[in-house]
């Protein structure tokens, strides 16, 4: 490598990023981060749906994090799309961001990206307008997140060659395994639902038994 490019300056060799490739690299990087963030959003969402707590955090932290990370993911996808369009190396029309099959470059896999971006926007917008929507409508749209993620994953892995080997491939596979495991846990957990009418009495008993048992707080008090 060094010998082939030997005449260039030191910095060019190390980074490989220059004015003509900065958009390309930015698009790659934000794409990978967006995939990681979307995976986190889906895992948190599954946790929230099953009323799971994050260790060491208050109960509302999971839903708050789910909400905020999803907004962050949207921002990263937006940058990912804008930089991909702005990069001049391949011509991608801006419409390809939301209209499937609008790009002649990687027509199918970029189309998948557009589909998942649309589904993502639908989930975000209905959540922002949740006060004005019926629960049924909101939930119906929100459930399409389970479709959004796999489509986004296939777009990530197949739209470009650089995630198909090395450490990035490992990241992609790890994300898929994590989501698969969480989804299976979600299905298994749904079978263990306590009927609505019995929940309060159960939690009431739990809350009251804490008074009488020697909980961690009581030990703190004794010290």
């Amino acid at each position: 490598m060094n010998q082939l490019l030997g005449k260039g300056s030191h910095t060019e060799i190390v980074s490989g990023i220059n004015s003509s490739t900065v958009m390309w690299y930015a698009s790659r990087a934000t794409g990978v981060v967006a995939l990681l963030l979307l995976t986190a959003v889906l895992l948190l969402g599954i946790g929230v749906a099953r009323d799971k707590r994050l260790p060491g955090l208050p109960r509302f932290a999971a839903s708050g994090l789910h909400r905020n990370v999803s907004l962050l993911a949207t921002a990263f996808v937006a940058v990912h799309v804008v930089t991909a369009v702005a990069d001049g190396f391949v011509k991608i029309p801006i419409t390809a961001a939301v209209v499937p099959l609008a790009s002649s470059y990687e027509r199918f896999w970029l189309g998948a990206g557009a589909v998942s971006f649309d589904l993502m926007l639908a989930a975000v917008i209905t959540s922002l307008l949740r006060r004005h929507l019926s629960r049924k409508t909101w939930r119906g749209v929100h459930l399409t997140a389970y479709l959004c993620w796999p489509v986004a994953w296939f777009h990530s892995v197949f739209a470009s060659k650089d995630i198909q080997h090395g450490p990035l491939l490992a990241v992609g596979i790890a994300c898929a395994l994590a989501v698969l495991a969480a989804a299976m846990w979600r299905v298994a957990e749904a079978g263990k639902d306590v009927p609505r009418a019995e929940r309060v009495a159960l939690l009431m008993a739990a809350a009251h038994s804490r008074i009488h048992s020697k909980g961690s707080r009581e030990r703190t008090f004794a010290q």
């Binding site: 009323d51 208050p58 109960r59 509302f60 004005h132 929507l133 019926s134 629960r135 009927p195 609505r196 009418a197 019995e198 929940r199 309060v200 009495a201 939690l203 009431m204 739990a206 809350a207 009251h208 804490r210 008074i211 707080r217 009581e218 703190t220 008090f221």
Partner: protein
């Protein structure tokens, strides 16, 4: 009826009681003949919209606790009916699931025809073809049989234009909440649902639906007969008219009084001890100290100073030999158990708050118990499908404020109460299965 109605001669001078039978006929149930003799025939308007304008100038507000302007609800249902071309439904809400209240049951027992008049007039005003009276029919004295008899009598005489159906409310605290009521009438469990859609737009069978408290409908029937100016003859400028109040003094027996809005709170409670306390508005209401009570009048503008509301008109004086914290803890336990078990904030916070109050009441204080209650209360504020967590935490906060001295006493492992006998009425039966909600 265990409830005793209460009225004085000074009331008669301003034309009270309006809804309940006059004092000389105390406890006499108003049959159809007495009803017609006293109030005259049912004044159908035969023109849409005129009653709504009258209700607006009368300034009638909902008497079920929300104090929402009645004309706005009527107008909303009427507009939705035009917009969606659907014939609306009207529901008289007499569920009165607040255990401390007895005014709706008393009204239905003593003056059922006034409520049924109001139901017909409201149905005419919005153009409804369905009218339902929703109540705990089997609660006391067989109100159900009495209502069925009244409905049959009216049908026979051709008074009712819209046939009235009677529906039984399950014995749950939330059964009277509008969306829970609707869910129950649609054949599901009586649990609150998320809005929107608003039930004035899409309610029973997706038709625009008007839900009004039975007392509100009785007032409406009288405004239709005597006009807005008559209605405004009592009450304040902002909150005109009279209201039914359930008053419990030291003997604990409920007394139903019809009083003008804006009367001094002390006329209902009687003289209070220096360290006494009064509960205003029921179990989603507010405790106030005797000192505050002396300054307050029974209208929302005045009660707001003590973070209280008229609500469904419940006023309870705590006897000197009972502990406000112990009583509150018992009620909060009941409220927590009455959670529908749907929404996280309610399901997770209320049992914990109830347990914390039990700790305080039982003198088993732990470091941070009070702070925990504050924090949990903050976290549920404004969340969930209904106001059950909000109302409960408001009640708890007012108790900790009003009985601060008692809390300090409990911290030291003591309690001022001489009597352990429960005072505030709390139903024993709690829901164990889905069928308890249907």
């Amino acid at each position: 009826m265990t409830a005793v109605t209460d009225s004085t001669e000074s009331d008669a001078a301003v034309g009270l009681p309006r809804l309940l039978p006059p004092p000389q006929e105390k406890r006499a149930r108003q049959g159809l003949e007495q009803h017609l003799a006293r109030h005259g025939r049912l004044p159908y308007r035969d023109r849409a919209g005129t009653l709504i304008r009258d209700i607006e100038s009368a300034g009638l507000t909902g008497r079920g606790g929300g104090a929402f302007p009645v004309h706005r609800k009527l107008q909303a249902v009427s507009d939705a009916a035009d917009r969606y071309r659907r014939t609306p439904a009207v529901i008289a809400n007499g569920a009165e699931s607040e255990p401390a209240s007895d005014k709706d049951a008393t009204l239905l027992w003593l003056s059922p025809h006034l409520v049924l008049d109001g139901l017909q007039l409201a149905a005419e005003a919005v153009g409804a073809d369905t009218a339902i009276l929703y109540t705990h029919a089997n609660r006391k004295n067989d109100v159900g049989a009495r209502l069925r008899e009244a409905i049959a009598q009216r049908q026979e005489r051709g008074i009712d234009r819209v046939p009235v159906q009677l529906a039984e409310a399950p014995a749950r605290f939330l059964a009277g909440q509008e969306t829970a009521l609707l869910s129950h009438l649609s054949g599901r469990a009586a649990v609150p649902t998320f809005m929107p859609p608003r039930i004035t737009e899409r309610g029973l069978g997706n038709a625009p639906t008007l839900v009004q408290n039975v007392e509100t409908l009785a007032h409406l029937a009288l405004i239709a007969r005597r006009g807005p100016r008559w209605f405004r003859a009592v009450g304040t400028e902002q909150e005109p008219g009279s209201m039914l109040a359930t008053v419990r003094r030291l003997d604990g027996q409920p007394k139903i009084s019809e009083v003008p809005l804006g009367i001094p709170l002390l006329t209902l409670t009687g003289e209070l001890r220096q360290d006494g306390a009064v509960l205003i508005g029921g179990y989603h209401g507010t405790w106030v100290t005797a000192g505050q009570a002396q300054q307050l009048t029974m209208d929302n503008a005045s009660l707001a100073k003590a973070q209280a509301k008229v609500g469904a008109g419940i006023v309870i004086t705590l006897p000197s030999d009972r502990c406000g914290i112990v009583e509150t803890a018992r009620v909060v336990r009941y409220l927590a158990l009455e959670s529908a078990g749907q929404c996280g904030p309610c399901l997770n916070a209320l049992p914990r708050i109830a347990a914390a109050l039990a700790e305080i009441a039982g003198g088993r204080f732990r470091k941070g118990t009070l702070e925990d209650v504050d924090r949990w209360s903050d976290q549920v504020a404004g969340r969930g499908a209904c106001h059950h967590p909000d109302g409960t935490t408001r009640f708890v906060a007012s108790a900790l404020r009003t009985f601060a001295a008692e809390v300090a006493l409990h911290k030291a492992g003591r309690c001022s109460a001489a009597s352990k006998k429960p005072f505030l009425p709390v139903p024993q039966a709690t829901a164990r299965a889905e069928t308890d909600w249907i």
